[in-house]
Structures are given as C-alpha cells and as structure tokens.
Amino acid sequence: MAWDVYEFLDNRMRPVIFAWVRKERIQKKARILLDQKIDLLREHGPELPPGLLSSGPIDGGHIYKLKVRGPVMLRPLLCKGPLLMKEEYTLLQGAIERNDILPPSDIAQAEANRQVVIGDATRRKVYDGCC
C-alpha cells in the first residue's frame, strides 16, 4: 500500500527537511540515500522494508525516526498522519544521531511541529526530494 509523505513547513514556509540538509551541509550521497528511503516508505509503508523506521515511537508518543545510514546517521523525525493516520506520514524535523543518541531538542521540536500541523493542515507539503 502506498502512503502519502508530507514535509512540515517552518515559520517561513520552507520545507523543513530541504532546509535542514542545507543548514547541516549534508553530503550529496547522504541526501540521495535519504530520498531513496523516503521513497521506500512512500511506496511500501512501514511494515515490509526491514529497519526503515524505529520499531516504535521514540518519545513514547507519536514521533518515529527514519533510519538512513551514510557518512552521518541521518534520522529525520516523522509521525503517522497526523491527519489521516493510516494513509500518510509527515516529516517533522531533521535530526542526526551521534553515539546512538538523538538530541532531545529535536524530538521536542518534532512534537511541536506535529501539533502545528494538527491545527493547520497548510503547514506541510508533499515531500518532493531534498537534493
């Protein structure tokens, strides 16, 4: 089953992942692999491809991490829905894992962004790649 994948728009209405990979100067190879993993999620959902998502919410709530292994451990944070829980994911915040630890501030920001989308569906757009 195909899922819709959206990307949060920040206060300046910039796609959050697109802006994050540039701010963090993520290498091109890692960005391409990020696109590839997001396409995998979009086309095949969370169940079949092994190791694509964290096995459960990382905050005990609604936030999952997408796992992309490359020169750096990209861990964009996302949630199911939040509007249509069985049909869509929304990328909420970029994050990089170091020594198996995610910055707590990124997790908190992801949840805050999720709440924004719940209140305003226009604060996201269909993910269209980050390269």
Partner: protein
C-alpha cells in the same frame, strides 16, 4: 507511484543521483527479500543463520535496508540455505522504475527447489488443474440456501473460470460433474447459455434432470437475462427445500446432494 517516477525521471538526469539511488535501492531490495524468504519458510533469524552457516547477529545486521556490505560470497550462502539460484545482471536505469513497485511479498517470494513448479513430477502437475476445476465449479454454481426461499445465483467471474478450466480439460470437468451428479438451477443453465456454454458438455451434464425447455439457446437467453454480476432466478417458495432429493425435487430444480449434506 506516479509522483515518485516523475521525480526520479527528473533527478536521474544527474549521474551521481541515479547511481547512489540505485545502490540504496539494491541494498533495500536484498534486505527485504532476505526477510520475505526467511519468513515464508517460517524460519527465525537463528534458523536461517544455521542454514547459511553464519551468526544470527550477522543475519540481523543484513536484514536491514541500510546494510551496504553485500558480497557475492555472502549471497551464495543464502542461495544455498534457501535452495535458490543467484541471478546477477547489468540493467538499464529504466528497469528500476519497473522494479520499484515490485518490492512486495508476492514479487519477492521464491520457491525452493523442492517446490519449484518447473521440477515437479508430471503426475503431480496433472493434479493441479483438477483441483482448480473443482474450485471453479464450486465457485461458479451457487445454490440457494436450504432454508431460504430459493435464489439461485451465478458468479460471473466463477463462470469465466469454469470456461477457462473447461477449455483445457473437458474430461475432468465431465468427471467432476458426474461425480457430483451435477446439478444446477435453470438460472445456472441459462447463464451458461449466455456465456456461450449451452452446447458444452458442462451444460449437458448440468442439465441432467432438467427439461430441455429450461436450457435456452444463446440468443434467447441473452435477450432475457441481464448481464449483471449476479444473475438470479426465482424459485417457487412452495418448494420444500428441507428434503430435496433428485427424485422429489421439481423438474426445474435439482439440488446437488453433496451440498445438501453439508447444509
């Protein structure tokens, strides 16, 4: 999928993009197929590791879309464990667009040699159509519930399966119908006529016990019957469906005894 394909057509213009993307896709595909093959054999990772002569932790590491250190040597261990062959080939990038939607259980599933249809014994191969035939006939001829007022309905898709199965093997069909003392409502027969089976052995077999007049010719049936998914024929409510034997049932309705027992 269209959105992804359109984006890939754009982004693949960049050589770096298409080569790195393909590398990621290959890694993801291998990991996913490894998981699918293991699970369809109902093996744990530990069992697969034993079969492939490696550690369970190694299997766990490779069952991950991010694993990127495949070697032909490792893949050969898995082919041996699953009793499959390894196929490696160079492909055009356009095939990736075709392969993308195929990353699902059905497309990734593979038979081990012992279950490979290409190597089945001839006798075993012949048994398959018969089973398919029985299933098709069962599905096609839907008799009314014994306690109901009697609506005989025909499943068009089922009929088409009967036609396909029957075309390949009339003898088996005849044998099946004979074994079940064939039996169907006039509605079934008319629907068979509509579908061009009125002159078929199937129709003649099913018409046992039914007067000739109930079997319409193609043109007549076509003009009478709607071409809907569920063609029904009314059965008089006075029929006592609780005791329908071939001898007692009215000429226009003969009940399949095996179904009667089941009910």
């Amino acid at each position: 999928m269209t959105d992804v394909v359109e984006r890939l057509k754009r982004d693949f213009q960049d050589p770096d993009y298409r080569h790195v993307y393909d590398e990621g896709f290959l890694n993801s595909s291998l990991a996913t197929q490894l998981k699918v093959l293991r699970e369809e054999r109902q093996w744990t990772q530990e069992q697969l590791a034993t079969e492939a002569k490696m550690n369970q932790s190694r299997v766990s590491e490779m069952e991950d879309v991010n694993f990127n250190s495949w070697t032909i040597r490792t893949l050969r261990k898995f082919t041996r464990a699953f009793d499959l062959r390894l196929k490696i080939s160079f492909e055009e990038f356009g095939t990736l667009l075709d392969d993308f939607p195929k990353l699902n259980r059905g497309a990734l599933s593979r038979h081990s040699f012992k279950d490979d249809p290409a190597f089945k014994e001839p006798a075993a191969k012949e048994a398959e159509p018969e089973e398919a035939l029985v299933e098709a006939v069962e599905k096609a001829v839907v008799l009314p519930p014994v306690t109901g007022l009697g609506l005989g309905s025909v499943d068009l898709e089922g009929i088409q399966q009967v036609r396909a199965a029957a075309a390949t093997n009339w003898l088996k069909l005849a044998g099946y119908a004979e074994a079940h003392e064939g039996l169907a409502s006039p509605g079934v027969l008319r629907q068979l006529a509509v579908l061009g089976l009125s002159q078929s052995p199937m129709s003649r077999i099913l018409s046992v016990g039914v007067s000739d007049s109930t079997v319409a010719d193609d043109s007549a049936a076509a003009s009478v019957l709607p071409r809907s998914q569920d063609v029904t024929t009314s059965i008089p409510s006075s029929i006592d469906m609780s005791q329908p034997t071939p001898e007692r049932a009215p000429a226009e309705w003969v009940v399949n005894p095996s179904r009667q027992k089941a009910a």
